[in-house]
């Protein structure tokens, strides 16, 4: 359907895909809060929320409804525009990252190949990094605009933490990029389908990436920006109602997205291990669905590990955090990079 030289089907399918991905990530984020509470309870020999609906599955709805109906408070001494901008930015950047993730193999609808990836940028990973770096502005602007000492302190901590850990994250990924020779997400997944998962070639790189992902999502043990007992919830202390909700939601969306990014980069994305699913002779749409479910399963595993870690490990002190970031992870990532380069050079000879 070409009109005015524009492929309207293309625009429609992208719009649908964006709508689906956004709704889906929000839904996942909603139920991650439920999973968080349930797993926390189970790890502590409790039962967790079980009153709203069977097994408490309506609890996220109740929580969301509560947040919507709470009183909206904007502190008098705050900078109002920035105060509202903070949570919006946090949510926006959390959502933007999902644009380059290849969710599955293309669907076939009416003879068209509909790729399940919003944008297959040739600089996919670079885009993820850019957007994740922007994510710090949500915390910084929110904490700063609150005009509260605790919030400002948390914002400063958050900014320095994210900048420190982004470095080693990037260094860990360079080794992976040397393996694939491409920044394109779909190429990285294809490479893994052919040669095996990257986690086999880059176990150290994955470990560094995982630790940095924890830090980027502000999850325990790196949750210094919202340290409950020293900073009174930190950067979102002055926030109420759905503005607080957006911050909390953004954290869970970030968790889900970083889980999928890790699955895509290191665990083969939508690839099913040990089998060649293309030889099963199934319809491409069914295969795409299976691939999507497989990717989700991997992402959910990472979500579980994130939650599991949160309820096991206590928070770092600020100096410990900086020590780990600058003195341990960055040298380690550099060593990993150089070692990868040397091995590749020797094998090419």
């Amino acid at each position: 359907m070409y009109l005015l030289m524009i492929d309207w089907w293309f625009i429609l399918e992208k719009f649908l895909l964006v709508g689906f991905v956004v709704t889906f990530s929000l839904l996942i984020a909603m139920y991650t809060t439920y999973a968080e509470r349930k797993i926390a309870a189970f790890l502590q020999d409790r039962r967790g929320p079980n009153r709203a609906g069977p097994f408490g599955i309506l609890q996220p709805l109740a929580d969301g409804g509560k947040l919507f109906f709470k009183e909206e408070i904007i502190p008098l001494a705050s900078s109002k525009f920035l105060f509202v901008l903070g949570p919006s930015l946090a949510m926006l950047t959390a959502m933007l990252t999902s644009a380059v993730i290849p969710w599955s193999t293309p669907l076939q609808i009416g003879g068209r190949d509909v790729p399940l990836q919003i944008a297959d940028l040739n600089i996919g990973i670079l885009y993820v990094f850019g957007v994740v770096s922007l994510g710090v502005y949500g915390i910084m602007i929110g904490g700063w605009a609150s005009n509260n000492k605790f919030s400002l302190l948390a914002a400063v901590r958050g900014a320095s933490q994210m900048i420190s850990y982004e470095l080693s994250m990037g260094l860990a990924l360079i080794a992976l990029l040397m393996l694939t020779g491409s920044l394109q997400m779909s190429v990285i997944v294809q490479n893994q389908i052919v040669h095996g998962w990257h986690v086999i070639y880059q176990p150290l790189g994955f470990l560094i990436f995982f630790i940095c992902a924890l830090a980027e999502c502000n999850r325990t043990p790196f949750d210094l920006p919202e340290a409950e007992n020293e900073l009174n919830f930190g950067y979102h202390q002055e926030y109420s109602s759905m503005k607080l909700g957006l911050y909390l939601f953004a954290e869970y969306v970030n968790m889900f997205i970083s889980g999928t990014v890790m699955a895509t980069l290191f665990f083969g994305g939508y690839d099913i291990p040990f089998v060649n699913e293309a030889s099963w002779g199934l319809s491409p749409n069914l295969l795409a669905f299976i691939g999507f479910v497989v990717l989700l399963a991997k992402a959910f595993f990472f979500l579980f590990v994130f939650i599991w870690i949160r309820w096991t490990i206590p928070r770092f002190r600020y100096d410990q955090l900086m020590n780990l970031g600058w003195k341990k992870l960055i040298p380690l990532a550099l060593v990993n990079m150089v070692a990868t380069a040397i091995v590749m050079l020797l094998r090419n000879r």
């Binding site: 189970f42 790890l43 020999d45 039962r47 599991w308 870690i309 309820w311 096991t312 490990i313």
Partner: protein
Amino acid sequence: MNAWEKLYLPAVLKGMFITLSHLFKKKATIQYPEQKRSFPKVFRGLQVLNRDEEGRERCTACGLCAVACPAEAITMEAAERQPGEEHLYREEKYAAKYEINMLRCIFCGFCEEACPKDAIYLSETVTPANYSRAGFIYKKEDLLIPDPTKDPEGYQKALGHRAKKINN
């Protein structure tokens, strides 16, 4: 600490598996409204004003419970039994008004010990929550046990096993 311990990763993994093992352990939670913790036999709960087997109130409004009460939670007013009220009150004097403020009561059971007529005892029920302070001031109607001649089942249920079984 040696280099291996300084890595912290083994210790972290050990901790993670400890928490993971708790995932499958028995839960300590008691699902309260459906499932109740059984109280010990000496548990002292809400007060009950007892009746005798003919359904007459035992209380004679002597005021000893109010005197014994360390929290001063009991208020009562006495009245004389009129002719024709013998089926309601056991003695010639009875409590026209009998109130216990459950916010003041400390459930020490001294009222039960002080009572010469075995008219008051502490049951095995916990004082339920209420929306107002006024709701915590229990009137005589709230405290009185069901009439054994009219509602023997309710009487036995409310009696529990803490009331002294006496037939005088």
